[in-house]
């Protein structure tokens, strides 16, 4: 009796030790040696920017609604391509609780306004002058689009140009 209890204890200790070490190794492989990178399912970091019209745009004010958060630049060709699609979908979805917020990375107001007028964009556009929102979202390539659901969680992160059908289905996915 005592002998088998001892054997079990040994097996348990060895198993736990090996499991802890295995987890440590897996963790070291999974970690990217970087600051925290946002992932699908994370809470979208809150921020506050002033849009071109001078209105405050605070992400948490949209709680209860879906938000398409797009990071872009006037010089980036895929941004130019996808903006008309986003504009189209915005017109359909804005009354169904899905918002669009476009964040330009650090360009001049003149340039961004000229772009907006050229493409006839009606959704709010804000300029991230000090790149703090970009840093908070770890945005590297442009365009990067975050689809945020009504709970403020990130549903999807797209780091390339999107087709209109893709935008539509993703906006449906965050519709409250």
């Amino acid at each position: 009796m005592a002998k088998s209890a001892k054997k079990n204890k040994r097996l348990v200790i060895r198993t736990i030790t090996l499991a802890v070490l295995a987890i440590a190794i897996i963790f070291s492989i999974a970690s990217k040696d970087k600051v925290k990178v946002l992932a699908v399912g994370d809470q979208a970091p809150d921020f506050e920017l002033i849009d071109l019209e001078g209105n405050k745009q605070r992400l948490s004010d949209y709680k209860g609604q879906g938000v398409l958060l797009n990071f872009w630049g006037t010089w980036c060709p895929p941004c130019k391509k996808e903006f008309p699609y986003i504009e189209n979908q915005y017109k359909d979805f804005k009354d169904q609780g899905v918002h669009v917020l476009a964040v330009n990375i650090k360009e001049s107001k003149l340039k961004v306004e000229a772009f907006r007028d050229q493409y006839g964009l009606t959704f709010p556009i804000a300029i991230d002058k000090d790149e703090s929102v970009k840093e908070a979202y770890n945005v590297v390539p442009l365009p990067t689009t975050f689809f945020i659901n009504k709970e403020g969680e990130i549903e999807q992160i797209i780091t390339r140009e999107m087709s209109e059908a893709e935008i539509k289905s993703l906006m449906e996915s965050i519709q409250p």
Binding site: K7, R10, A24, S28, I29, P45, S108, S132, E135
Partner: protein
């Protein structure tokens, strides 16, 4: 698993070679051998004994010193291979295709092989990490498997050992004694004077010192494990930051990796040694090289958000600082280092509006390339509107001018010139050394001069694991010192059955010193002669001394 009962009555764990208590050899092999193997005191390394489940088998694998050494060799070899060509981190490209091309161009076929095998990203490859992880596992399991039985058997050792144990020691001597009891008392006195811990039992003495030294390797391994743990923690967010940022003069931006902190650059300064200053130090080198930099400096102001919300302008000034090489800006665990610079990026351009016919000026205006105005009023009813602006003009695509980046490397403008003569305005596209007009204009915009600014390259570092690494390193060194500068010495003296005396001794290193100490005891207490069976030369010398 059965216990092994020794003749002395002690129960030993299965696999024991020498009885923990009296030291009798228990295995056939040990009984046959002339000298016993004293490693781990002949105790049962548990890994060697239980081989039942898969867990036991994995455990035994990592417990093996042979496997441990093989892993060390593998880690060393791969680490060395990683230094043959530069790692990916130091390649000035980010796209995989460019990196591959880089290795091929610089190192030819060897470079291609190096890249294909993944050696260009050696230290973050999954298999390298697994190798290091296996090393850590091996260190832990092999240590635990040895230190526990060793501790137990040193604790359980009896003062009086069996004669078969004594006879199999490397240092052994026996001989008749006139007064064995007096010899033992005197030996005890001398051994105590030599700072031994002396225990006596029924006509036997065990003198021991420096047992502490036996724990050296395990302390050392603990230090290594703490070190590896520190490296592992670097993967956790908040423990380790290594980021770079480019910041232009007059620019304010969020510091990457340091949420809530902002940096404003006022000025980047590059100073060179003047000829007079450098003459003494650099002499001819200055003439050959031309210029030798003296100082790289970025004057900055550090800000912090009040509520921590990105994008808000509610900033609080923390401090002004001049970042100089080796004098980083320090705040809450972060260090911001001066690392790089670029000089003379376009910042503003000054133009003149002129009448083509008379070449007369209607006024000058300056366009800030970072934040251009929409309208420049020149007075007297003349004005220039900036309709659009292309900071990095790259030709015309689909009838539309294109900028390939947001940086003002090659600015181009669409101006509308409104004058008293042409109140509806004339449009003109102005790029560097190029002016396009849709129809012939009466006026033109002339480039006069440009202002530039410098860019500082800064590195942001934070390393909370540094103290853990330091602690690991210190413990490692303590272990090394403990194992190297102290020796574990034991001397057994006991009475034989016929009134003769037996002497045996063991140390884990430095046998010469042990012999010297035994000689002192021997001379003082008239103990029998002994011999070192692994160093016969020392015996003949001693006999030579006597003769």
């Amino acid at each position: 698993m059965n216990k092994i009962k020794c003749q002395c009555g002690h129960d030993n764990p299965f696999g024991t070679v020498l009885c923990e208590s009296c030291g009798r050899p228990l295995t056939e092999e040990a009984k046959k051998s002339k000298l016993v193997d004293m490693r781990y005191e002949g105790s049962s390394r548990r890994s060697q004994t239980y081989k039942r489940s898969i867990i036991d088998k994995i455990w035994n694998f990592f417990s093996s010193v042979k496997i441990g050494v093989s892993i060390i060799v593998a880690v060393l070899a791969t680490s060395a291979i990683g230094t043959i060509f530069p790692q990916k981190l130091y390649v000035p490209f980010t796209a995989e295709a460019d990196i591959a091309a880089y290795y091929e161009r610089l190192y030819g076929f060897a470079g291609v092989v190096y890249y294909k095998l993944g050696f260009h990203d050696m230290y973050s490859s999954w298999w390298f990490k697994i190798l290091v992880g296996m090393l850590g596992t091996s260190i832990i399991i092999a240590s635990v498997d040895r230190v526990i039985p060793l501790y137990k058997s040193l604790k359980k050792q009896r003062t009086k050992r069996h004669i078969s144990f004594m006879k199999r020691q490397r240092i052994y001597g026996e001989g008749p004694s006139d007064n064995p009891d007096e010899a033992l008392t005197k030996a005890e006195e001398k051994l105590k004077a030599l700072k031994y811990n002396v225990k006596t039992e029924d006509g036997a003495i065990l003198a021991e010192k420096g047992r502490f030294s036996r724990w050296g390797p395990y302390v050392n391994h603990t230090g290594l494990i703490i070190f590896l743990l520190g490296v592992l923690l670097r993967g956790l967010p908040g423990f380790y930051v290594d980021e770079t940022m480019w910041i232009r003069e007059g620019e304010m931006r969020a510091i990457p990796g340091a949420p809530g902190y902002y940096l404003e650059s006022h000025q980047f300064i590059l100073e060179n040694y003047t000829k007079e200053e450098a003459e003494d130090v650099f002499g001819e080198a200055l003439e050959r090289v031309g210029m030798i930099p003296k100082n790289y400096q970025t004057d900055v102001t550090l800000y912090k958000t009040k509520d921590g919300l990105p994008g808000t302008a509610d900033l609080e000034k923390v401090e002004d600082y001049s970042i100089i090489v080796n004098k980083p800006l320090k705040f809450s665990g972060y260090n911001v280092f001066q690392m790089d610079y670029r000089l003379d990026e376009l910042k503003a351009m000054t133009f003149q509006l002129t009448d083509k016919a008379s070449a007369g000026s209607l006024g000058e205006f300056t366009v800030n390339l970072v934040n251009p105005e929409k309208t420049y009023d020149l007075g007297n009813g003349a004005r220039v509107d900036l309709l659009d602006y292309y900071p990095d003009y790259d030709g015309i695509e689909n009838g539309e001018p294109v900028s390939k980046s947001p940086l003002p490397n090659n600015p181009a403008f669409i101006f509308k010139m409104v004058t008293a003569e042409k109140p509806e305005g004339e449009k003109s596209f102005v790029a560097i050394r190029q002016t396009l007009e849709t129809e012939e204009n009466n006026y033109k915009v002339n480039f006069l001069s440009a202002e530039t600014r410098n860019i500082s390259g800064l590195t942001i570092r934070k390393d909370k694991t540094l103290y853990i690494l330091l602690l690991g390193g210190i413990i490692f060194m303590i272990g090394v010192a403990q194992g190297s500068y102290w020796n574990h010495r034991r001397i057994w003296i006991q009475k034989g059955t016929d009134g003769e005396l037996l002497v045996a001794a063991h140390t884990n290193k430095n046998w010469f010193s042990l012999r010297k100490e035994i000689d002192k005891v021997k001379d003082f207490a008239q103990l029998p002669n002994y011999e070192d069976r692994k160093d016969p030369e020392s015996n003949s010398q001693k006999e030579g001394d006597k003769a």
